[in-house]
């Protein structure tokens, strides 16, 4: 790891101040991605701004029809939250299946969504539930947030403060883990909310994406039979030693059907 200065501000305003004043500064939430990157010398920030001391960023609230999860909320807290389990059990399930206990006790939703790893689980929930990402300056709709491989709509020095998930009538997440890393090789989040049916796929492509054909079929008939003949093209999907693009395309169908069945249970 290269040397850097370490800061632990107490407020979002102070954190933003630090990030703006040091052009080579990086925010750190759980550090589960950032620290390995530093250790491998793949990043060389001048300053690390640890958000762990910013109390206002952590926590879960129910606001009307939405569950609002603060950016610094750890995966373990989402997984065990009574509010989340009551409103969107699929979200609690997803959080409870990220990595291992150590990772879940450190990693945060803000860090995960900001990082937008193509194999991360949370982006599936954010997109399928049509969530809204709040930052220190604005609100961003899920459809506008995920831009590409490790790329989001966030600007320089912009922090995710929270994510607002609409309650779902039905929802489920089914993940086919990468055998080695246990990140999502293919993860499908299916949700039926006030705004309709959405099917979001993570792990399979450069970034999370929706399967419109499935959404349309499920809007008419929310059953796995309704999507059984829908084939996902392999073009452009990820391919590596654990899964070819064809295999991933196939798994999207299998995981989607299983997710619909789980949502109907």
């Amino acid at each position: 790891m290269y040397d850097f200065a370490y800061h632990r501000p107490k407020s979002v305003a102070d954190a933003i101040g630090l990030l703006k004043s040091k052009p080579e500064a990086r925010a750190m939430s759980g550090g589960m991605t950032l620290i390995p990157t530093l250790k491998q010398r793949l990043a060389r920030p001048s300053d690390v701004v640890d958000l762990g001391g910013v109390k206002e960023l952590a926590g879960i609230k129910v606001e009307g029809n939405n569950v609002v999860v603060g950016g610094m909320t750890r995966h373990a807290d989402v997984a065990s939250s009574a509010e989340v389990k009551a409103a969107i059990p699929a979200l609690a399930y997803l959080a409870g299946h990220i990595g291992d206990p150590q990772v879940r006790n450190r990693g945060t939703i803000g860090g995960s969504v900001a990082n937008n790893d193509p194999a991360a689980d949370y982006p599936g929930a954010v997109l399928a539930l049509n969530a809204t990402v709040s930052t220190n300056t604005r609100k961003i709709a899920a459809d506008d947030f995920f831009k590409g491989l490790f790329e989001t709509a966030l600007g320089e020095g912009e922090l995710i403060t929270g994510i607002s998930f609409p309650k779902a009538e039905k929802a489920a997440y089914v993940k086919f883990p990468n055998p080695a890393s246990r990140y999502a090789m293919v993860g499908v989040f299916v949700a039926k909310t006030a705004s309709g049916v959405r099917v979001a796929v993570t792990g399979a492509g450069a970034t999370v994406f929706r399967v419109k054909a499935m959404e349309e079929a499920l809007a008419k008939n929310f059953s796995s039979a309704a999507i059984k003949d829908i084939k996902i093209p392999a073009d452009g999907l990820n391919s590596d030693i654990h899964g070819s693009a064809e295999y991933r395309a196939h798994l999207v169908g299998v995981m989607a059907r299983r997710a619909v069945d789980a949502a109907n249970k």
Partner: protein, 794 residues
């Protein structure tokens, strides 16, 4: 003897207290005053000429103490690393032995080859400096794919080995085997790949060294499985430091699985540089370095054929194997696919004729050497795969075909056609017990039930034999080994009656501190808490060969028993004197010397005290002290055997395999600590299943970059991949060692790949899948199913 702690007792491991409370002492924990830290610059290319290395900028970096390159070693006349086993090819010629410079001089030959050593005041400073070293590489085409290693156009790894051939070796008479094949009613043919593995010990390799200018003494701490052998190699072949001036200490070591047997560049450099730097040097591999530079395991391409008569009796076996050696010949590499592989091809069967041809290849990949089981898993995989395939082809039950061909219990000692003579065994009761525990009879009902849930259920056998307890020195010597393979023990009583037992074996997970103490307790009656097992330090233990090849108990334990016999013999003389009896009348039992037929007795502790305070002592014929040494050279290998049955379910939609039941019945000879044995079997099975379902070292076939270079891509087996194992024993004691013990360290890993893959094939056969290579990952199985469906459609 109190059953609670003697032979056969489930004694909790003494060493676990320090391991579980964080007080174990590993190489990296060493507090060395004024230490410097080493970092090795590794080759980013699989094959390149080094045009120049410019260290000038790096040398000026903060904290840098010294930088060494291969040229410095040439100038200092340092020897190369050695391969310690000479294999003679089929024409009687010794194998090609290309030079193995400690650090690359003008050519790098795999990604991870060592290019420079940077010594600095801190690890980070050393690493900063490494980034400032400018190496001008002329990148050359590389030979990565084993199957193409001998092809005309393939890049040559070493000029000393034309066509990348290290040796073309054979065992058996091909003409006889061919004649038997000509008469066969059925021939089963099989092509398979034994996938390359990365050992991944929990503790990465590490080394630290200190040089004492005053005495000229070097001390090297190393994560070694065999510190005496490491010292011997460094002294006699590489660094020329006289043995008495080099002390090698292998303190607590967190797993080896073979990968820590060998002498690597890293500890060699750390030791050599310690005197040049004038301060202690510490080095610990980063995990990525472990992936790239620990010796890998397995990596065979094999074609096998089995000839059977119409009733399923095996007539002959023919095996052709290409074995990958990697870019350099590591310490034991040449012996693994020959003497530890082809000599095992009889398995548990009476196959009268066997021919094997093994060609060892060089490639631009990390060196390949012994890894848990070393050769024997590869042999078992060939035999047990082809036997199950033959059973399926001939429509004979897989267990039945095995039973038909088992060596009968009356035939021991049994001379196989491939050099080994099995000392003991009784195979039919083992498979019977395994089938009973696995409820083999109920399998078809379970298969049908699984089918109703959309799952493909399969069952697979693996009846293995292994030769371990390495090894009779004369035998291995005649086969080209550079060392003997006896073991040593010293039992040193202290005047107050407690005892230190020095062993040449080394524990890095095996629990010797407990098992060996149980032996001492059993033989001498000393309470467990009065016994200390000392290992891993050339200065305090007698020369010994270390731990690998399931040898520690069979060979090292036997040496301990021999030493206890000497203690008892001497103790009898002292006791006879103390009790004023004749030596012939003195008996020893439960830690007490007694005069037969009387109530006279004297405890061992009192005899020990008398030996150190010999005021009343048989001085005329007995030396003072109670300190005995023994060396034990085994008469033969030991031959553990067993049957494993794996039952699994495959989800045909995703290709994912779940192991639902796993049974292992073993003959390990007598058992000292069943709990430790179970631990060894569990770990072994898991490693073997890792090979069968998950693990693969994958290099990019063109660039030679290691794609599976981290735990993000190299799939380790994990606890949630397994059901509880069902274990059992059917024991035939080893007839030629004093404890009647065989070995249990490798068995699990030797047998399980075939058990799993036979179950995979059994599950997939109904849907037309013919062959799946290891690892049977979800992707691999799914693709195999797709292939079968495509074929069926055509």
């Amino acid at each position: 003897m109190t059953a609670a702690t003697g032979i056969g007792a489930r004694v909790l491991r003494t060493e676990d207290k320090r391991f579980l409370t964080g007080t174990g002492r590993y190489v990296d924990d060493l507090p060395l005053a004024r230490a410097t830290y080493a970092y090795f610059l590794r080759s980013p290319h699989a094959h390149a000429k080094i045009k120049s290395i410019d260290i000038s900028a790096a040398a000026k970096m903060p904290g840098v103490v010294n930088i060494f390159t291969g040229k410095d070693l040439v100038d200092a006349k340092v020897g190369g690393l050695i391969c310690g086993w000479t294999v003679k090819d089929k024409h009687g010629q010794p194998h090609k032995a290309p030079a193995h410079p400690v650090m690359a001089v003008d050519t790098v030959r795999y990604v991870g080859d060592t290019v420079a050593m940077i010594v600095a005041n801190s690890h980070d400073e050393a690493k900063d400096a490494a980034e400032a070293i400018k190496v001008d590489y002329d990148v050359k085409p590389a030979t990565i794919d084993l199957a193409k290693a001998f092809d005309k156009g393939s890049a040559e790894v070493h000029p000393e080995a034309p066509g990348n051939l290290v040796y073309d070796w054979e065992i058996g008479v091909k003409a006889d085997v061919d004649a038997a094949f000509a008469k066969a009613a059925h021939v089963t043919k099989l092509d398979l790949i034994n996938n390359r593995l990365i050992p991944n010990a929990m503790e990465p390799r590490a080394a630290a060294a200190e040089y004492d200018k005053g005495t000229g003494h070097y001390t090297l701490w190393s994560t070694s499985q065999n510190p005496h052998v490491l010292r011997l190699i460094l002294s006699a072949f590489v660094l020329g430091i006289p043995e008495h001036k080099l002390r090698v200490i292998a303190p607590d070591v967190g797993g080896g699985f073979g990968s820590k047997i060998f002498c690597y560049a890293d500890e060699t450099m750390v030791c050599w540089a310690a005197s040049r730097v004038g301060r202690p040097i510490k080095w610990t591999a980063e995990r990525s370095e472990s992936f790239q530079t620990d010796c890998h395991g397995r990596d065979h391409v094999t074609h096998a054929e089995l000839a059977l008569d119409k009733d399923g009796k095996f007539l002959a076996l023919k095996v052709e194997t290409i074995a990958n050696m990697g870019a350099y010949l590591s310490t034991f590499s040449t012996a693994v696919p020959t003497y530890l592989y082809a000599t095992l091809l009889a398995g548990q069967y009476t196959t009268p004729l066997i021919y094997a041809n093994v060609k060892a290849a060089l490639t631009h990949t990390a060196p390949v050497d012994a890894y848990r089981g070393a050769g024997r898993p590869e042999a078992t995989f060939v035999i047990e795969s082809i036997v199950s395939k033959a059973a399926a082809e001939m429509k004979i039950d897989a267990a039945e075909l095995r039973r038909k061909n088992f060596i009968p219990s009356t035939a021991f000692p049994y001379q196989t056609p491939v050099a080994l003579q099995y000392d003991s065994g009784n195979y039919p009761p083992i498979i019977d017990e395994a089938m009973k525990i696995a409820d083999y009879k109920g399998f078809e009902a379970r298969r049908a039930e699984a089918k109703s849930r959309g799952k493909l259920r399969g069952i697979g056998f693996s009846s293995y034999i292994e030769a371990c307890g390495l090894a009779p020195s004369q035998v291995v010597g005649s086969l080209g080994a550079g060392v003997g393979q006896w073991e040593s023990a010293q039992i040193k009583f202290n005047p107050t009656g407690n005892v230190q037992v020095m062993t040449g074996a080394h524990s890095h997970g095996q629990g010797h501190e407990t098992t060996f103490a149980q032996l001492i307790h059993d033989k001498l009656g000393v309470p467990m808490d009065q016994i200390e097992i000392v290992h891993g330090d050339t200065a305090t233990t007698p020369f010994g060969m270390g731990t690998y090849g399931s040898r520690s108990l069979a060979v090292g334990g036997s040496a301990i028993v021999k030493a206890t016999e000497k203690i008892i013999a001497k103790g009898k003389k002292v006791a006879a004197h103390l009790m004023e009896a004749s030596v012939a009348d003195v008996e020893f039992e439960n830690g007490t010397f007694k005069v037969a037929g009387t109530d006279k007795s004297v405890p061992l502790a009192q005899v020990v005290f008398a030996a150190y305070v010999p005021h009343n002592y048989p001085h005329a014929d007995t030396e003072p002290g109670m300190d005995e040494n023994a060396f034990y050279d085994p008469a033969n290998f030991v031959y553990p055997a067993g049957t494993q049955i794996c039952e699994l379910e495959i989800d045909p939609e995703t290709g994912t395999t779940e192991i639902v039941a796993f049974t292992a019945i073993d003959d390990f000879g007598n058992i000292i600590n069943p709990m430790i044995v179970e631990g060894q079997v569990h770990g072994g099975i898991v490693q073997g299943v890792g090979q069968a379902l998950f693990e693969a070292a994958v290099y990019d076939k063109d660039t030679g970059q290691l794609i599976s270079g981290s735990f993000m891509d190299y799939t380790m087996p994990r606890a949630d991949n397994f059901p509880s194992f069902k274990l059992g024993y059917k024991t035939t004691p080893c007839p030629h060692n004093p404890l009647g013990v065989k070995g249990c360290g490798e068995a699990g890993a030797i047998a399980s790949p075939a058990a799993v893959m036979n179950a995979v094939h059994n599950a997939l056969a109904p849907i037309g899948v013919k062959h799946v290579e290891m690892p049977a990952t979800s992707l691999n199985v799914w693709q195999s199913i797709q292939g079968a469906q495509r074929q069926a459609a055509e």
